[in-house]
């Protein structure tokens, strides 16, 4: 997924820079970086990064998202949603994994998918049942 302060990467399909405003249905198959303003709908089957100075008035659908700006609309993330300290969300959130930094603002309903198979436990953590033997034997 995106990391903060990452340079423009080759895999990014769309970059909406500052001072650029996009209106309408923005549907793509690639990664999106938003530093400007969007009104409408955003849908991507990959990752979304919302920069700290960006404003989004749209419903959002993505695989993973890193949000540092303002979003007014509902957010539907399949896998992981990460909110940094500057994030401001005015809308409902539906996500698999949620990570919220201190200072982030959420005004809306938050629903998380109850999918037990999502993060399988590694083999090493599965412990065998131990038979408990009494340490003190009663001497009669």
């Amino acid at each position: 997924m995106f990391k903060e302060n990452q340079p423009l990467i080759n895999e990014t399909d769309t970059i909406i820079g500052p001072s650029v405003k996009v209106e309408g249905d923005f549907i793509t198959e690639g990664n999106i970086i938003v530093e400007g303003m969007i009104c409408g709908t955003i849908k991507t089957s990959k990752n979304l990064k919302v920069g700290p100075d960006s404003k989004i008035f749209a419903n959002i659908g993505a695989e993973n998202a890193l949000v540092a700006g303002e979003i007014q609309g509902n957010i539907n993330i399949k896998n992981k949603l990460e909110l940094t300290s500057t994030a401001r969300i005015y809308g409902d959130i539906k996500t698999g994994i949620l990570s919220v930094a201190g200072g982030a603002l959420i005004n809306g309903k938050c629903t998380m998918n109850d999918n037990k198979d999502r993060t399988p436990k590694p083999e090493s953590t599965k412990q065998k049942k131990m038979e408990l033997k009494p340490l003190i034997t009663d001497k009669q």
Binding site: D25, F26, E35, G40
Partner: protein, 251 residues
């Protein structure tokens, strides 16, 4: 049968030696043919149409990027295979196509590796192979009839590219020969006591429509054209068959 079109600037004395070397190399390979020179006094479109009707299958452009773009627009149809021998200044497309300049380009011609290359079309009329640039002031862009882009800041530059060789190549992967056009918007943040900072916006689209209150001047391979609104830009349904080198840069 090969058909060679020389640009007008090759009449200068400094190119005479290079041209004679090229012609002898072509004769060695057995791929020499009729030579026509672009001239302001000659209607090349009519000449080309007549000659292509006589069975010319390969048209070789000898000149620079501008010559190549000019000839693509003069061809009556895109069926003949195009070859390119770059000579002189303003040759950047040859690097993308992996064609060396001058005499060495004859080797590429003789190897005859043919690739289908996309062409951009402006208003269903004017073809471009590389990219066009325009000012982003008072412009509204519609991509694929899905979304609109507007630019708040002045002094922004819009680049729409099919095959790109300019400044952005290090920052954004623009060289392509795929089924979309690249749209780049460059803004410069000017502050008095801090260094200039450039910001980029980058979109992919199949068709782009540009509208403005005024007519839009477009810069197209060193050639400024003023086109009436609205401007429709898309990829042409037909592709050109271009003879390219092994070291071509696009995928």
């Amino acid at each position: 049968m090969y058909y060679y079109i020389y640009d007008n600037y090759l009449n200068e004395a400094k190119y005479r030696n290079t041209l004679s070397k090229i012609e002898s190399r072509l004769a060695d390979f057995g791929i020499n043919g009729k030579i026509t020179r672009i001239s302001p006094l000659k209607n090349l479109k009519l000449t080309l149409r007549d000659d292509l009707n006589q069975g010319v299958k390969t048209v070789v452009v000898v000149g620079n990027d501008k010559t190549l773009n000019q000839i693509i627009n003069l061809l009556p149809n895109l069926s003949p295979t195009l070859g390119f021998i770059p000579i002189g200044p303003n040759n950047n497309l040859c690097n993308i196509f992996g064609i060396p300049e001058g005499e060495e380009a004859c080797n590429i011609l003789s190897q005859r590796i043919i690739e289908k290359v996309n062409l951009g079309v402006i208003n269903d009329h004017y073809y471009f192979i590389s990219y066009l640039e325009m000012s982003g002031d008072n412009i509204y862009i519609n991509c694929d009839d899905d979304y609109y882009i507007s630019i708040d800041k002045k002094d922004s530059v819009i680049t729409i590219s099919n095959l790109y060789y300019g400044d952005y190549t290090n920052k954004i992967p623009l060289i392509n020969n795929k089924s979309w056009l690249n749209l780049v918007i460059k803004n410069v943040n000017k502050k008095i006591f801090s260094p200039q900072k450039e910001f980029f916006s980058y979109f992919k689209a199949k068709k782009i429509k540009i509208d403005s209150d005024r007519s839009i001047p477009i810069l197209l391979i060193d050639e400024k054209r003023i086109i009436k609104n609205p401007i429709k830009i898309n990829l042409s349904a037909e592709k050109i068959n271009l003879i390219v080198g092994k070291n071509r840069k696009y995928n």
